[in-house]
Amino acid sequence: MSEDLAPSFAGDTVLVRLRFSPVLRELLASIVHRVHAAPFTLPNAPVVDASAEQDADWHTAWRDSLRERSDLDTTALDALVGDARFGVANLPLTPVAAEAIMRACARVRLHLRDTILRDLRSEEVYGTLDIYRRTVAEQQGYACYRLLAMLEEDLVYQLDPGLLRS
């Protein structure tokens, strides 16, 4: 396998190195905790086509497995954002833990997009958002959404430095 055929980790440790206000950390912690406690929902309803020979047990096993993975990931993110050093100091992660954090970031961001941020257009989420015309809940949700995206992106570029070069 050539060097380019699979992610090559720059080292054994990935750093959480974002810096931001402790107030934002507390807000993020409360949102992550809330999502963690919320019932798990698959991001996409049609797992596979209904015509296949899949029975209820098969679907239950599929969903349970996804739920189990997601719970583990969100537990890891919950612990990270609950750490008082998060946002003010570098925190080391193993590559496996970093990927768990990435998956959990996606889960929380999807949840925010479907709930607090559901009235925002895509162009607003990724472009210019007039934050002062938004409710306090939307402002807070948007801040957390962007922060989690920054965290996820910083981790992925450390896990897969080739993405930055290409």
Binding site: A6, N44, A106, L110, S122, D160, L163
Partner: protein, 105 residues
Amino acid sequence: MSAFTHPPQFAATPSVVPDTDTRTIPAHDPMWNVVVLNDDVNLMSSVVHIFRQVFGYSTERARRHMLEVHQLGRSIVWTGGREAAEHYVHLLQQWHLRVQLEAHV
């Protein structure tokens, strides 16, 4: 443990079929497409990383699929046997991508 967390096992096609077995054995099993759908939440960089992780694709190939998803709304990221396709769908869903499995025609 469910079968979803293990790589699929590919059984070799038996070279000798017992002559007492009169069932029809299809020459080729149907093929299935693993299709990733666009969303406005997952990051482009993350999606490239996921395709590289799950399928072992080069950065260039993974990026091509990511851009296809982004620009066209969907990309067939893998085609093959049912069991392996289900495995890949499950792995991609762990990353919260929108994925479908559809018959290859």
